[in-house]
Amino acid sequence: MSLLKPFSKLPGLNTANILLVENEEQFQQKLADTVVLQEKTVNVNVRLARSLPLPMENEESRPRIDLVVFIIHLTSELSFQSAETSLKYLDPGYFQGKVCFLVTSARNVSVPPERLVSVRTLAASLHCPLLCAEDQTTEGVTTAARRLLAILKVAAGLVPMATGLYLSTLTRCTVPSDIDQQNFE
């Protein structure tokens, strides 16, 4: 069984580990660099993967993963499908606050809106937060990195009075029929 388990290893001191799963392997690198640059107080290790399951060779040396981020590019259907299949290799314990979905090009007009809706329903069914990121500009990457860092620190237990479960309950994704969408910008 090659499931990734959340609590099977000891945590590191003042460390947070984040795993970025992306099928296209283009945004991960930028995001990883930015995340590492942004964070000054905590040791952040960023691990990149194309999909789950992770290779067995690294099972022993791999540290405990605090947050798994699925990066889905809305411009390609394959991205979403690969993320969906990877979900099966995650221990269910991860879905209580240690999984996050990151979506890019949500504002793109060429993207069919049904894809975003399906991503949202998936995130809502798993009670996980859904972030939208803009991957073309450095500002967008920086913003996405900051947000991921915030969730990561909570998931790694580095924020007092906040647990991953609590945060994910508060920030879980909802499908559009649930709430009224209002744009104040």
């Binding site: 069984m1 499931l3 388990k5 609590f7 099977s8 290893k9 000891l10 945590p11 590191g12 001191l13 003042n14 460390t15 690198q29 990883a32 660099d33 590492v36 640059l37 964070e39 000054k40 107080t41 040791n43 952040v44 290790n45 960023v46 691990r47 990149l48 993967a49 992770l54 290779p55 690294n58 040396s61 791999r62 540290p63 221990d91 269910p92 879905f95 209580q96 069914s125 009670h127 913003t143 900051r146 947000r147 915030a150 969730i151 620190k153 909570v154 237990g157 580095l158 924020v159 007092p160 009075m161 906040a162 647990t163 479960l165 609590y166 945060l167 309950t169 508060l170 920030t171 104040f184």
Partner: protein, 350 residues
């Protein structure tokens, strides 16, 4: 899972892996507001950390041993989630606030640093105006924590209220400005429309005036034409002609009457008495009872000329009194036929 809040100089961990991994840069020596502690305090802190970590390991081992089987369907997942949340809630409710450590030095250091951090956050957010929410923990967790639990998760309460006010005010200001600009646009558009409409009105009024004039001229023309028509209609022409004819006839009658009067007065037929008074006593007076007056002679001549223009000659016979005939011939009123001396006709006056 308890986390260590104590800020100490940390060691760098840089593991390598075959999966692509990004090494983080060596973390700079701690936080900018690092304050030196005494050796004893540091040692005590280390011990406390060790104890905490030992406890952590124990809990971790228990968790590993108690790993449940996977293969859960979504319903079980939700149930699990519910159970986990309930357990967490229970723990929060039973938890008591406690001191980090008993050493006053440590407490002082931590307190001072937190205070400084609060100030730094406040200054930063006031300067840059975070558009995302809490600068420390996350875009949403602070806000939601506050809503649900009534406490701020991170330490910048007052800063939050201020940020909220500033953002709200600026939001409303910007919204009102947008509204203002839109209304100004609407105003200018409607003014332009009104001006064009006024011009159109003026032009149309002038056009109407012209058309009215044309109409008037047209109706006058029509009236004139109608009058003309009536004047020149056949009926009127006929009437006019009849009148002319009548006038002519009257004139002719008058002339004839005058002529007859003149002739009767000045050229009477000879009678016996008249001859007796005259000097010609030896001329045999052959008084024809058939003598016609000069009037009748002239009538005869005129009628002949008019009725038979190809042969206007009248034969002289005894009914004509010769002196009158001679007088007519001499004065050019009548003329003889060139071949026959007994025929005379009226002179051609026309």
């Amino acid at each position: 899972m308890r986390s260590n809040e104590v800020t100490l100089q940390q060691e760098n961990e840089q593991p390598l892996d075959k999966e692509s991994e990004v090494q983080d840069t060596p973390v700079p020596p701690a936080i900018p507001f690092y304050i030196e502690c005494s050796e004893a305090a540091q040692a005590q802190l280390f011990n406390e950390c060790e104890e905490q970590f030992a406890q952590l390991e124990m809990l971790q081992n228990e968790i590993i041993l108690a790993e449940p089987d996977s293969d859960e369907n979504p319903q079980e997942q939700s149930v699990n989630r519910l159970m986990a949340v309930a357990a967490e809630l229970k723990q929060w409710q039973t938890r008591q606030p406690e001191l980090l450590s008993t050493n006053p030095e440590v407490l002082l250091v931590v307190g001072a640093e937190e205070q400084k951090e609060r100030m730094a956050v406040g200054v930063y957010s006031l300067t840059y105006g975070f558009s995302e929410g809490c600068p420390i923990c996350s875009p949403f967790s602070c806000l939601f924590f506050k809503q649900i639990t009534g406490i701020w998760a991170c330490s910048s309460e007052a800063v939050y209220a201020l940020i909220g006010l500033i953002k709200g005010k600026s939001f409303f200001q910007s919204a009102l400005q947008k509204l203002n600009s839109q209304l100004e646009l609407v105003l200018s558009c409607s003014q332009a429309k009104r001006d064009t409409l006024r011009e159109t009105l003026k032009r149309d009024q002038k056009w109407l005036e012209k058309k009215k004039e044309v109409l008037r001229a047209g109706t006058e023309h029509v009236v004139k034409q109608r009058l003309e028509n009536e004047r020149l209609s056949e009926h009127s022409v006929l009437q006019d002609t009849k009148k002319k004819i009548q006038k002519m006839k009257d004139y002719q009658n008058r002339l004839m009457e005058t002529l007859a009067d003149v002739l009767a007065e000045h050229f009477p037929l000879p009678t016996q008495e008249t001859n007796a008074d005259k000097k010609e006593k030896n001329i045999p007076q052959e008084l024809n009872e058939n003598l016609i007056s000069l009037n009748e002679v002239l009538e005869l001549l005129m009628n002949t000329t008019l009725e038979t223009p190809h042969d206007p000659y009248v034969s002289i016979d005894e009914t004509f009194w010769p002196p009158y005939t001679e007088m007519l011939l001499r004065h050019g009123i009548a003329q003889r036929h060139p071949e026959d001396c007994f025929k005379i006709r009226l002179e051609t006056f026309y």
